[in-house]
Point group: C2
Chain length 604, copies 2
């Protein structure tokens, strides 16, 4: 017997894995389980090191290191196609597909986005940041493969938390009709962003507790073959399972039981806080740059949560509703407990959040739903049909409705004005400060005639104790904060501040302009606008896209008058990781720029 | 033993039921099964008589006569609350709740809408015309009841076809978390509008075939107790079952097996045609007023289906997709068979339709999805994230995007321009005639860079052989059809016709205006608009709401120019059963009115 000394293998076995050597998944495909295990450990260490200084999606990525390795190990990516739902598992994926440096070298930490991104890599099929779509997208890819007579594997990876979104169900329902290879990996880490809510989670628990053998079985009832991996962080189990379903010729769900936050004790212990986190001390979990300073300014989430707790105590008909993002509403665990049954989390299910609010309002309750701007668009039909058409007096608070919020292309807060303000019977309010926010919310909860949306930025609160508040916001009634002539500045929501500063700048130049807070973005105060018809110019500014927005309503209404109208706002574009002040400048939204525009308009 | 002669009872037993005596559900609650059976027969006869001359939702209502009687018989309506999904079962409900005359007296046939309507009756909780929302709405009502400490039954009635919609799943998932009375009646008539599509339908079949005993069981897997009624048109079985779940204190699904179209042989035999039908001969099923005249004008559905069949034959990469409404796309059974695997029905699941199209486009296919204007809004997030942001070159055809389409408040085709044209990277085209429609569709299918939406009205096709067609519609390039001066008329889509006629009227008065077909509603042709800046006036007209629409973009762009801009279109309102010509007149959209407005503008 001749023994050939394999130098490469010897070195590999002797040394730790060098992450820098991993350029493509091919580089891991000849590794042994032991090597892959080392690889996982090193990737996890690198991830923790980066996350601690950089922040990001901590728990979901740490829990999926082994599964992502196993997927790329078993499947022939990029020929085999993997769609990662909402991209919350894609840091390990990026590490294995040519972007390792972005996780090992601080100088390159920002080279990659936090989401899959086809512009970064051919291994990334979609730019995804909203949950629950991966199964339907993958089903479309599988159908294309079948129609073309190709033969690659198509895999969707989706978390248990994302399963509650309606599009996940629609995708599963359609995917089950494929008579061909279709593999859905359900990453069950027993968590949504916060804890899970919904009837399906009892079934997932039953399946976990029975090692996948119990009935009823949601996935089998939808037409899928079903496999279960109890040790979803064990490479050997995962690889064996993925090998067993590779090239399968019918739809199958592979349910893997993983640990969110694995390898970082604080993240394992507090899964909600470490779903997404800013920089933190990996030992203590204390946020590195959010020392709770006594005089730290309150943000709108904090302000909202505190005021809602008060309102709920004062009135047992008031309920606060979230669709899986309680933290955005400022409701941490303690506050949720404090609110008791008056706080409702429907899970990641924006459509249900709106319809449940509609039912609650119909039943005499006073529901207040909080949404991230970018996510509320998942429930447009429910806003239109079940709230507005049916005139159900529910209140909706739009968080991060602003250019100063999340700046990933998948999470932009630019579109909600054009989306919601054009729905009939839906009142869209934009407070300019916390006092106005409180007054609008108090009024909306008190009244029982109208559905109301209130839009706030994801910034620290502004205060303006001198703001003129109304007892009733149902009719459009602009606040003429300063009365001047020739030029009127109408600043909606957060943009009122810049307009007010522009008015100050102009005043110093001896130009007295009219300054208006419109309050209401869905219906024009035509009496006030009529009074501007013989002005030289009107400038509107809003913290959202100009197209379909508030300013265009003003331009249209004043279109037949001599007054010139200039609409300021954001471009209709999917910007990605933009720089806030550059964007503001590019849009002419600084006070100085606005003042300059006013001077120009007055000379036209 | 003393026998008291009960005259009322005697008469009841001897005579047929007099439908006119049924004013409220109380009037049926003391009836015997025999009487209820007679009642069902008479209601069914009346329904068929009305439907044959009036048209409406035939099959779904005929199949639910017994179940609706049993529901009102057992449950204490209106205290007990029943939400009927999409209202397709509500004719018998209306008959029992004070609106019998509208089904027995031709003079009153139009007194009621085709949907539940709270303005008609306190027994109608919602105005509903979009599928799949009833469970989530009822869950909200049940939650309100629990929070208030009330005790009524809350019942959602939903068809098997509607179950595929994501909001149905979200509602079921949330409803299962109620620890209280919550009754979901699943009306399984083995049909959607057309046949069902989706993995869950195999499970429903399994349950029917096993008399409800089989596993897996979708509803149990979601956390519901489960009951099955095999004879869902048998009053006794239904009443017993509903009695057994009345006042139950946990969520339960009652799965009833009914026959769509029951009692009308042609509707039983051809369930798809008789889901919704215009007037027909109840014996032959032949439509009373749609004699297939040789010279009958083609409508856009016919035109679309024929041209897509041709395209699919020419190119095996082209696929046509519907979300449960193949008839709207002109694809009857024969054409679906003709198209074979190139025709895809994902079931009532608009979100999946968009995402599957995204996957197909990504996989190199050329998908064309057809939607009813009012239903596409259910997939806004998928349009935004999975199509536009990801620049997937799928094509979408919007049917009934018009004021001349369905005029029920739940089915308005007014909102799609403002909804879709404000999404970045999504090209929104509005052809003015069939030749232009064909050219836009051909181009869109050929190109692989851009997602494209093409909007057509639900009218007969217009033909304009002289239309100037483009080889490439990706860049906004307005068609200046007639060059005049001072006044420009920009008519989008169907409104181009009225604008063109207005231009003719003006020409006869010696006023030569510029007439423009903008083709593209999502991006402005700024070069052409710049050439109008020194005009006296520009009038835009679109077949949709003005708010957030095309015209307001023009008004905004020209806002700083001397030219006056007038935007014509529809009001931002949920109109209900409006009169088409009255609406057109009220909006100033007749050629004469437009010509008058042009004259006025030119004098300003």
């Amino acid at each position: 017997m001749k023994i050939i000394f394999n130098k490469t293998l010897f070195i590999r076995l002797m040394e730790n894995i060098n992450l820098a050597d991993i350029k493509t998944p091919d580089d891991i495909r000849s590794m042994s389980i032991e090597e892959l295990t080392k690889l996982a450990a090193e990737m996890r260490s690198a991830l923790i090191e980066k996350l601690a200084v950089h922040g990001g999606h901590v728990g979901p990525n740490l829990g999926m290191v082994e599964a992502v390795i196993a997927l790329h190990y078993v499947f022939d990516t990029p020929k085999d196609q993997i769609v990662f739902d909402v991209s919350h598992q894609t840091y390990p994926h990026k590490m294995l597909t040519g972007r390792m440096e972005a996780f090992t070298d601080p100088a390159h930490y920002d080279d990659v986005t936090g989401y899959t991104n086809p512009e970064e890599s051919k291994y990334d099929l979609y730019s995804l940041g909203h949950t629950s779509s991966a199964v339907a997208l993958a089903a479309g890819l599988a159908k294309a493969r079948d129609l073309k007579g190709d033969s690659q594997n198509v895999v969707a990876v989706i978390g248990d938390g994302s399963l509650s979104g309606g599009i996940a169900f629609e995708g599963l329902d359609y995917g089950a009709t494929l008579s061909s290879n279709f593999i859905v990996v359900v990453n069950d880490n027993q968590m949504s962003i916060a804890e899970n809510h919904g009837g399906i989670y009892a079934d997932l628990r039953l399946l976990r507790n029975s090692n996948g053998t119990a009935e009823p079985n949601l996935f089998r009832s939808m037409g899928y073959a079903y496999r279960y991996v109890n040790y979803g962080n064990d490479l050997k189990s995962l690889i064996e399972m993925f090998r067993s379903v590779k090239d399968i010729n019918y739809p199958v769900v592979v349910h893997i039981n993983t640990m969110k936050g694995m390898g970082l004790p604080i993240a394992e212990a507090d899964k909600e806080t470490f779903h997404y986190s800013g920089p933190f001390d990996p030992k203590t979990g204390v946020s590195a740059n959010a020392e709770p300073a006594k005089d730290a300014p309150e943000d709108y989430s904090e302000h909202f949560a505190k005021s809602m707790l008060r309102r709920m105590k004062e009135n047992d008909k008031v309920v606060t509703i979230t669709a899986g993002t309680p933290g955005v509403l400022g409701f941490d665990k303690e506050r949720r407990q404090d609110a008791g049954r008056q706080f409702i989390d429907v899970g990641i299910a924006e459509q249900a959040a709106v319809d449940v609010a509609s039912g609650l309002a119909h039943g005499g309750m006073r529901p207040v739903v909080g949404f991230v701007s970018s996510f509320l668009q998942r429930a447009y039909d429910q806003f239109s049909q079940d709230i507005a058409l049916n005139k159900q007096a529910a209140t909706f608070v739009v968080f991060y409705g602003t250019m100063f919020g999340m700046n990933d292309e998948t999470h932009l807060g630019f579109f909600d004005i054009s989306l919601l303000s054009n729905i009939p019977s839906l009142l869209y309010l934009a407070p300019t400060c916390k006092e106005e926010f409180d007054a609008m919310l108090d009024w909306s909860i008190k009244q029982t005639k109208l559905p109301v949306v209130v839009r706030i930025p994801g910034t620290t609160v502004l205060s303006n104790p001198e703001i003129k508040l109304l007892d009733d916001y149902s009719k459009p009634e602009y606040d003429i904060v300063r009365e001047g002539k020739d030029i009127a500045l109408i600043g909606a929501g957060l943009m009122f501040g810049a307009m007010s500063q522009a008015a100050d700048i102009l005043a110093k130049q001896g130009i007295n302009v009219t300054l208006i807070n419109p309050r209401n973005l869905s219906t024009l105060d035509t009496a006030t606008l009529d009074s501007l018809k013989n002005y030289k110019g009107v400038i509107t500014a809003e913290d959202g896209i100009i197209d379909g927005g508030y300013g265009q309503k003003v331009a249209s209404y004043l279109g037949e008058s001599p007054v010139k109208v200039m609409n300021l706002g954001l471009p209709k574009e999917f910007l990605n990781r933009y720089n806030y002040s550059e964007l503001r400048n590019a849009c002419g939204l600084t006070p100085e720029q606005i003042a300059g525009s006013a001077v120009e308009l007055s000379k036209m």
